[in-house]
């Protein structure tokens, strides 16, 4: 059963990446200015050189041929060359990936720690004022654009990972709080509490098994949120990661680089979601 689920996820992933890659290649091909190369305006180039440049562009006119060509190169590890930075995309990703990975991982860990701590305390204490205060904090953070939180983190010299945490935290907190509040009102947990079972045991033995699989699903989605948050945080905090690279590529209309980054990020978020789904399935089947 688990193997079947894994295979289904892998097939799904492959189909989405291929389809996404095709759509991306189509967008690059159809984007205004694709057929034009700045080099063609160089007065130092001879007519033959300019013709050669035009011929090179003509080869990629057919969308399907362009996609197959891109796919073949990608299969050999060649992701193309950035138009604005004049460097192989693969090198750029290898150089900048680790920073984004560290930033996102730390941001996620902080966001989850804050969300779980506040949601658990709100569910356990059940004090109206405390619940209102935590809801107010998360609600306010939810209403501030991610880029403004990044700017404020620069202003107050806060680390980029904290900015990512503050962007992800309110979304995670909302779900976690609602899930825990619902779990704590379940009849068997109310009975356990009435019989005098300790709060720690109620949480570990009764609440976590109920909300665990759903929290895992939220964890998968939170990866996507954190990766998205990396763009404004890295761009505005001056951190040389994948997010900043994507922003620079967008400003320079460096489509080959941007499309490769988008496909990579899609792959990461899909893997995170599939991983969360498979672990959730394992937990559920173990419980059954």
């Amino acid at each position: 059963m688990l193997l079947w689920r894994l295979a289904r996820h892998a097939l799904n992933l492959l189909a989405i990446v291929l389809l996404g890659g095709f759509i991306s290649a189509t967008l690059v091909r159809l984007a205004p200015g694709f057929d034009v190369d700045e080099q063609q305006l160089d007065p130092h180039l001879s007519a033959a050189s300019i013709q050669a440049l035009r011929d090179a562009r003509l080869r990629d006119r057919n969308i399907f041929r362009f996609y197959l060509h891109s796919l073949q190169r990608a299969a050999h590890g060649d992701l193309g060359t950035s138009l604005s930075l004049r460097q192989p995309v693969r090198t750029l990703i290898r150089e900048r990936g680790p920073l984004t990975l560290r930033l996102v991982a730390l941001g996620l860990a902080l966001a989850w720690a804050m969300a779980l701590a506040l949601a658990l305390s709100a569910a356990r204490l059940r004090i109206g004022a405390y619940d209102a205060l935590t809801t107010f904090i998360s609600g306010t953070l939810l209403c501030i654009p991610a880029a403004v939180l990044a700017l404020l983190s620069v202003l107050w010299n806060l680390p980029g990972s904290l900015a990512i945490a503050l962007i992800v935290f309110p979304r995670v907190y909302r779900y976690t709080r609602n899930l825990l509040a619902k779990a704590y009102s379940l009849p068997h947990i109310v009975t356990a509490r009435a019989k005098g079972l300790g709060e720690g045991r109620i949480l570990l033995w009764h609440a976590i098994p109920v909300v665990g699989p759903q929290l895992l699903a939220v964890a998968g989605v939170s990866v996507s949120m954190a990766v998205g948050a990396a763009i404004p945080v890295e761009a505005l905090c001056g951190l040389a990661g994948i997010g900043q690279l994507a922003w620079q590529a967008a400003l320079a209309r460096d489509l080959p680089l941007l499309v490769n980054l988008t496909v990579l990020v899609t792959l990461v978020t899909l893997l995170a979601n599939s991983g969360a789904d498979v672990i959730g399935h394992m937990l559920r089947s173990q419980e059954a």
Binding site: I16, V227, I231, P232, T262
Partner: protein, 269 residues
């Protein structure tokens, strides 16, 4: 209606009314430069001071609020209509159509929203007139923001398509197209309204993010996103607190929408 919801409604109405009266409250317009008073502090002539090239900040906030508050609902309307058409039809037709629509929504939803937005925005020419940049930015939000709503609408339409009254209408010989427009779509209205309202604050925040990153509305046209770019040059919050007015306004408006939405979200899921 709760007190908070009534308050949120009043705040939104007040902000929209004031922004609509921009040409009377700030007749000088958003682009006029007072070269003798650049980076000026608030005064009787300039209630919120001026920016680095001497434009009246109060006028820019009013006109920017108008752009963001009028076009975010327009983008929400576009995305809701697309969601109704794609999700509603897919749910009603079922089978391969529903699977295809859901696979497409999965593809869109697997992309982080901001990545998708900046990629799509980069595909459009960046060096365009301010009016075109406004249209491009908000159209993109509308065209790319339909997926979540389509998923909800697909599920609602599928459940309606299996309901007794639709089965009875079909058995009575009502043609498919008429069945969809007369019997299914009107019953999707509450979900459509909810999705429309939910999309507005999402689009306001997205435009703000794009604007701060320099990928939104082009100068000199103001929007909340372009107004918030000013925060980039801030050395400390206490240095020029009036520069935070657009942020405060945005937070108040989005909070008001969130307060109004608490009821809508129950319908949407």
């Amino acid at each position: 209606m709760s007190v908070w919801r009534a308050l949120a409604c009043a705040v939104l109405l007040a902000v929209i009314s004031v922004s609509l009266a921009a040409q009377w409250l700030a007749p000088q317009g958003y682009a006029k430069q007072y070269r003798e008073a650049t980076e000026a502090a608030p005064s009787r002539a300039h209630w919120l001071g001026t920016d680095e090239i001497g434009r009246d900040r109060f006028a820019r906030v009013l006109y920017g609020t108008r752009v963001s508050l009028l076009l975010a609902p327009a983008a929400a309307l576009l995305s809701t209509l697309l969601a109704a058409l794609i999700g509603g039809l897919a749910g009603y037709l079922g089978g391969a159509w529903a699977r295809l629509a859901m696979a497409t929504t999965d593809l869109f939803l697997s992309l982080p929203w901001l990545f998708l937005l900046i990629t799509a925005r980069a595909l459009m020419p960046l060096n365009v007139s301010p009016l075109v940049s406004v249209l491009v930015t908000f159209s993109l939000l509308g065209i790319l923001g339909w997926t979540t709503a389509a998923r909800v609408l697909c599920a609602s339409a599928a459940s309606l398509a299996r309901s007794d009254f639709v089965l009875q209408a079909r058995a009575s010989g009502v043609p498919g197209v008429r069945l969809f427009w007369i019997h299914v779509m009107p019953n999707l209205k509450p979900v459509l309204y909810a999705q429309f309202w939910i999309s507005i604050p999402v689009f306001i925040l997205s435009e703000a993010n794009l604007g701060i990153l320099g990928l939104g509305v082009a100068e000199p046209m103001p929007s909340w996103g372009s107004l918030l770019r000013e925060l980039e040059g801030l050395v400390s919050v206490g240095e020029a607190p009036w520069k935070l007015v657009p942020l405060a306004l945005l937070v108040v408006v989005v909070t008001s929408f969130q307060l109004l939405l608490s009821k809508q979200e129950e319908v949407a899921v």
